[in-house]
């Protein structure tokens, strides 16, 4: 039971980071990427390869995962600079599907359909962080540091510039904001951070496979942000808790037969999301509708 809870808490921390990075894009920059699951995977594969071939050092894994995600984020920045709205969403969807194909069809990089197994336990500055409790502590600290960094950036002129771009791009330009640079930075920051979450995920599960980083993962991350409250600090964390704890809570409900849990889950997600968007479009942690 304790092991179960520690595992769940670790997942909450990892997905909390991923959702916070998604929020950077959706909530602050207004960039509705459907490729976030792919960048989560890119970080996971980078960390896995590093751990399998070179060193299981967590900081180096973070560095590798973030660097690769940031470098590849240019593939997402490019469409973001050229098209907006539904056109960008379609472009990011294409990128997501392309990435999953690569995950499955490039065995030398990703292990192909079999994935990469046997990822060794992580070390941090030479100390083993393999035990569940230690790993939870590391994941939690990473989450807190990520949220702190986001809070500092979003409270400052960078966050204001992103929100201005989100609310009225041409006006942001008229007040000196270099929109292409701003979008590139936002996409790099969002993808770099989700890469770090991916690295943690790889060590936590010790097995990475393309199937974990599909469109469904992207949509789940979006759902965490939107349900929790886009553009707020706490929102993504609230959304993550809700989405990860709901299935856990359901497994403890005796009246639902185990074979039906999946169906009930889907049903509850769907209903919750729809009702929330009707009654609280800003999300749980978001502002309620203004006086207008």
């Amino acid at each position: 039971m304790i092991a179960y809870i520690v595992n769940l808490a670790t997942l909450v921390a990892i997905f909390g980071i991923a959702a916070a990075s998604m929020n950077l894009l959706i909530g602050y920059a207004g960039i509705f990427s459907l490729a976030h699951g792919a960048f989560f995977g890119i970080g996971a594969f980078a960390a896995a390869q590093l751990a399998l071939n070179l060193t299981p050092d967590l900081l180096l894994a973070f560095l590798a995962a973030a660097s690769l995600s940031i470098a590849l984020s240019l593939c997402l920045a490019l469409p973001a600079l050229r098209v907006r709205g539904e056109y960008f969403i379609a472009a990011s969807l294409g990128l997501q599907m392309f990435a999953v194909t690569v995950f499955h069809e490039a065995p030398s990089l990703t292990g192909g359909h079999g994935g990469l197994a046997g990822i060794p336990q992580a070390t941090l500055l030479g100390i083993e962080v393999g035990t569940p409790w230690r790993f939870l502590a590391v994941a939690a600290v990473t989450l807190v540091l990520s949220l702190l960094l986001i809070q500092i950036l979003m409270r400052g002129s960078f966050g204001r510039a992103l929100m201005a771009m989100r609310d009225a791009e041409s006006a942001a330009m008229a007040f000196g904001k270099n929109i292409p640079l701003l979008k590139t930075l936002a996409v790099a920051a969002g993808c770099g951070l989700v890469g770090i979450a991916g690295a943690l995920y790889a060590f936590h599960i010790s097995f990475v496979i393309g199937d974990s980083f599909t469109l469904e993962q992207s949509v789940l991350l979006q759902a965490m942000v939107i349900i929790g409250g886009a553009g707020t600090l706490a929102g993504p964390l609230v959304g993550t808790l809700l989405i990860l704890l709901l299935p856990a809570a359901l497994t403890f409900m005796p009246m639902i037969p185990p074979t039906e849990i999946g169906t009930v889950q889907q049903f509850l997600y769907g209903a919750a999301m729809t009702l929330l968007m009707i009654f609280r479009p800003g999300g749980i942690a978001g502002q309620s509708v203004g006086r207008r």
Binding site: L153, G156, S157, F158, R160, A161, M163, A164, R166, D167, A168, S170, A171, A172, M173, A174, F175, G176, K177, N178, I179, L181, L182, L185, G231, Q287, G290, R291, R292
Partner: protein, 249 residues
């Protein structure tokens, strides 16, 4: 023409078959308030968009203090000291009034602004002053979407004020204001003129034009038909016929 702060020569722009701006010359002289007047669709907003780099002209040039700025990116034009407002305001809706104005004082796009805490204090002071002058100080923490119509118009002005720009291009800043707010608006512009700002405003209200403008440039169907002192322009029966004739449709 060396005294012109901003000068426009032979500027043209067509959208498909519509010649929105045709071969327009215009000079903004330091300290002179120029009103752009003309019926709907005359090309006034397009002319602003061409000057600020939102749209690239088909032909023609724009110079700022003698330096060519034709087709310069909007954010670079802004950094050169040209501020503008939008006919449809384009406020940062989900941000607070204070944040809206703050953005206008922070031209750097990078992760932080240059100048450290001292520069930040100066920017905050500029925001406070802009909010004070537009009567929005009490609404600093309200979100832009929650403001009344007149408040949104003044917030649009506060952003322009806070930039500290030397040249203001204002697109119908007083449209739809009640008489009281309009008086406050006129006072605001007078203060800016006194502080040395050079203003070009698009304005349909001829009372405000007479009250504020030193010169009028009259546009119709993309062409500048006349430019000169307000009395001369506003007494020209052909121009007035065009203006009111088309407005009544």
């Amino acid at each position: 023409m060396s005294e012109a702060l901003l000068s426009v020569r032979g500027l043209s722009k067509s959208f498909g078959g519509v010649a929105a701006v045709q071969n327009v010359d215009m000079d903004l002289i330091g300290g002179v308030v120029t009103a752009l007047v003309g019926p709907n669709g005359a090309g006034k907003t397009t002319l602003f968009n061409l000057v600020t780099g939102n749209i690239a002209p088909d032909t023609g040039e724009v110079h700022l203090e003698g330096r060519p700025i034709t087709s310069t990116k909007p954010h670079d034009v802004a950094r050169l000291g040209v501020a503008r407002s939008f006919q449809d305001l384009r406020l940062f809706g989900k941000m607070t009034v204070h944040e809206n104005v703050m953005v206008a004082t922070e031209p750097a796009t990078w992760l932080w602004q240059p100048g450290g805490p001292e520069a930040k204090r100066e920017r905050l002071a500029r925001v406070d002053e802009a909010l004070e002058r537009t009567g929005l100080a009490g609404l600093a923490r309200a979100r832009a979407v929650d403001l009344s119509y007149a408040e949104t118009k003044f917030l649009s002005m506060a952003r322009v004020i806070a930039t500290g720009a030397r040249i203001w291009l204002l697109d119908e800043p007083s449209s739809g204001l009640d008489p009281n707010s309009r008086k406050r608006f006129v006072r605001l512009i007078r203060d800016a003129i006194a502080a040395g700002v050079t203003i070009c405003l698009i304005e349909h209200n001829l009372d405000i034009v007479t009250e504020l403008a030193d010169r009028i440039a009259f546009l119709d169907q993309g062409k500048k038909l006349a430019e000169g002192e307000p009395q001369a322009i506003l007494r020209d029966p052909t121009l007035i016929a065009i203006y009111f004739g088309e407005r009544r449709e």
